[in-house]
């Protein structure tokens, strides 16, 4: 091809690249494809008898205006990004996924059993951020159209997070007086919301080493423990699914007023509270305001993202969501399965004792017997009878929580 002809083609391609915009490698790829096709098209015109100039003229003419072509391509092709932007995108995405997994992992440990709703809530609220980082997932025509949903959703996430930090989430543990210096002591108190209203049904517990017991506050928010051992105790208060907050009670020292603040705003916004504890103070309760909102919002986001996606990407995102769900859920399911099996073994052992008319052996013998049962978890323990027939298993996967089983009530729960 003559120099003039080549220059005309290259000028066309430069204008095309300018109109396409975006990352250089993406522009060059489009330009290379068009150049190769143009060359072949011009060769064919020349074979048909056109002069070289005519061939160039006709081939470029069939391409049309380079700017118009570039704009149309740009509206159809999800934009690539430059190298540094891609690195940042990968880093942010990795960090976000790690954070969401951590959050889901932690919240999952606070409950017993499958929790797909919780999973959907958390991932649904974070998907918009993924869509912002990867606009090509939902690419439609231009940046504004593609990013609008993600931006609205991100603003809503911030809004919901702030809702989770409402003042109702602060509670006060009031105690009548500190424990005595020596001997068994009584501990009385009341749990109040931040506006001074008593909180009924808050779970107040104390623990020292393996010893532990708990009680629920009454309608007046009050609780009472009688004959506690002296020495340092850990006291906790949990309201619904929030908390617990832990306090150290040393001999003769206990702050008469301890404020329980719930700092995990997202957790507060997301974790459904099935009890009415928070509603008893007349403040409406966080679950009343945020959980339906968060659930509805998450479902809306997931539906919108799926409807906007290309068919090939839906499968990928669905697989990614399922993988995320499996990463969180499978270990907890295994843990809970083994706990149930351990409970069954210990239950059989205790029924055997009862059938033989024997009382519970001393601690050392009990420990030997439990070891002989071949339990999955050797940290499983049965506290002294004085505090009820219970089993406790610190969750290996979330060591701030324990799975508990009450033989009297046949009840499994998670102490978080």
């Amino acid at each position: 091809m003559s120099r003039v002809g080549r220059e005309r083609v290259e000028a066309f391609l430069r204008e095309l690249e300018e109109a396409v915009g975006g990352a250089q490698d993406q522009r060059e790829e489009i330009s290379d494809e068009v150049r190769a096709d143009l060359d072949e098209h011009m060769s064919r015109f020349e074979e048909e008898g056109c002069s070289e100039d005519e061939a160039v003229e006709r081939a470029l003419s069939e391409m049309g205006n380079p700017y118009e072509l570039g704009y149309r391509m740009r509206s159809e092709v999800p934009p690539f990004s430059s190298g540094p932007v891609r690195v940042v995108r990968y880093l942010l995405s990795g960090g976000l996924i790690a954070w969401v997994l951590l959050l889901t992992w932690g919240l999952r440990g606070m409950g017993y059993g499958l929790s797909p709703v919780l999973f959907l809530l958390i991932w649904g609220m974070h998907l918009p951020v993924i869509a912002l980082l990867w606009p090509m997932i939902v690419w439609k025509r231009n940046w504004m159209y593609s990013m609008s949903l993600g931006i609205v959703a991100a603003i809503a996430i911030v809004f919901l997070s702030f809702m989770g930090q409402k003042s109702e989430l602060s509670y006060t543990l009031m105690v009548a007086e500190g424990p005595a210096l020596e001997g068994p002591v009584d501990l009385d108190g009341v749990v109040q919301s931040s506006d001074g209203q008593p909180v009924e049904g808050a779970l107040v517990s104390w623990t020292r080493g393996p010893e532990r017991t708990w009680g629920l506050t009454g309608p007046d928010g009050g609780f009472s423990f009688i004959g506690l051992p002296d020495g340092e105790l850990m006291v906790s208060v949990a309201v619904g699914e929030l908390g617990p907050e832990w306090f150290t009670v040393e001999e003769g020292e206990l702050s008469p007023s301890l404020v329980l603040s719930i700092s995990q705003a997202e957790a507060a916004a997301l974790v459904p509270d099935e009890s009415d504890h928070l509603e008893s103070d007349g403040s409406g309760g966080i679950e009343e305001k945020t959980v339906p909102l968060a659930a509805g919002f998450s479902l809306f986001v997931i539906t919108m993202l799926f409807s906007m996606q290309q068919s090939s990407q839906r499968k990928g995102v669905l697989l990614a969501l399922l993988a995320g769900f499996a990463v969180v859920e499978v270990p907890y399911q295994l843990e809970e399965l083994t706990f149930r099996q351990d409970v069954a073994k210990v239950g059989e052992y205790l029924e055997g004792l009862e059938a033989e008319g024997r009382s519970l052996p001393v601690k050392e013998v009990l420990e030997q017997d439990l070891a002989a049962l071949g339990l999955w978890n050797n940290k499983l323990r049965i506290p002294d009878w004085d505090y009820g027939l219970n089993m406790w298993w610190p969750r290996p996967l979330s060591d701030s929580c324990s799975i508990g089983y009450d033989f009297d009530d046949d009840r499994i729960w998670v102490q978080d």
């Binding site: 290379d32 494809e33 190769a36 096709d37 060359d39 391409m63 159809e76 092709v77």
Partner: protein, 119 residues
């Protein structure tokens, strides 16, 4: 997708509605690069289907974005490096559906026209 093709006898609306189907149908036979698609369309369409080259790329990119075709750079033993498009499994399903839909459509339209002619 205005001005999608230069047609001798078809309205632009008609050819626009069939653009996806004819391209997918061509790629079902074998992978092709952009210019090859243009030439093959013109040959098989008895000269009736003549895409302007500049309007082909947005259609191809849209089909690729939909996940119905995929692109891959290939260098033949003799010749230049070309961006070759092939049908994905999803594209094969879409092509079959569109083909069936198109046949039912043409039969229905033909039936209507025949009745009108009879009257």
């Amino acid at each position: 997708m205005h001005g999608i093709m230069k047609s001798k006898g078809f309205s632009s609306d008609l050819v626009r509605s069939s653009a996806d189907l004819v391209i997918l149908a061509l790629l079902r036979d074998r992978p092709m690069y952009g210019y090859e698609i243009l030439v093959t369309l013109a040959d098989r369409g008895n000269g009736e289907f003549q895409f302007k080259q500049g309007t082909l790329y947005p259609v191809l990119y849209r089909l690729e974005r939909e996940g119905w075709i995929r692109a891959k750079w290939e260098t033949p033993p003799k010749g230049k490096k070309r961006k070759v498009y092939s049908l994905t499994s999803s594209g094969k399903r879409v092509e079959l559906n569109r083909r069936e839909e198109w046949r039912r459509f043409t039969v229905a339209v033909e039936s209507i026209l025949r009745e009108v002619d009879d009257e």
